[in-house]
Assembly symmetry: C2
Homo-oligomer: 132 residues x 2
Amino acid sequence: MTRASASASIIGMPVPRAKLAPRLRVTLGSEIALGPGKAELLGLIASKGSIRAAALQMDMSYNRAWTLVREMNGLFRKPLVVSLRGGGTGGGATLTPTGARVLRLYGIMERDCHRAVEREWKSLRALLRTLA
Amino acid sequence: MTRASASASIIGMPVPRAKLAPRLRVTLGSEIALGPGKAELLGLIASKGSIRAAALQMDMSYNRAWTLVREMNGLFRKPLVVSLRGGGTGGGATLTPTGARVLRLYGIMERDCHRAVEREWKSLRALLRTLA
């Protein structure tokens, strides 16, 4: 029996896995310029080339996605997302160079944070009611 | 004029400060074992010796604070918080050794995460619509 499978059950009962999620939130005054949700949205717009498709994937309304995009665009010096063809519902969207840079920096920050806390996280996890 | 005061205004207008908040969330399956709110509650119980006083400080109902304490106590192998005198509303409360250890580990993780992302945060902050 591998360690991984041992950590997944106690005498056959499924045991929830302990997870650590570093959620980095960038605020400007009372407004959230960037956080896990906005970063995920940026990533999906980049990969799907469409705000509508990104919103659908996140189970979010198109309106809500547009609101988040407008907020981000307004809080950075340059817009992060631009519509490609018109402002209508069918037009594609893409990240600007600033948007791509912001998304990359955020990803590095998430990764570096995770790495930095690895040792303490192991100690903390051992105190949780789980084998994982 | 110092850099600090320069960053607080553009031609006399107040400019919101950019802030980075690493919010570490520890989940066990669908439940949140620890996060910024629960960690703050633990810290206040430790310093005030009372769940009621901690709740008041966080602008949280006593009931809500007790629910959070019960959740944490149930998700760790050993309770993090114990009531000192009876179960009534007047009794004090304190962290157990496990509770104190969990709080300390969480604090170290927050600090280490912040340090680890410092360089990228500077780059990201420079892209925000602020002087800070």
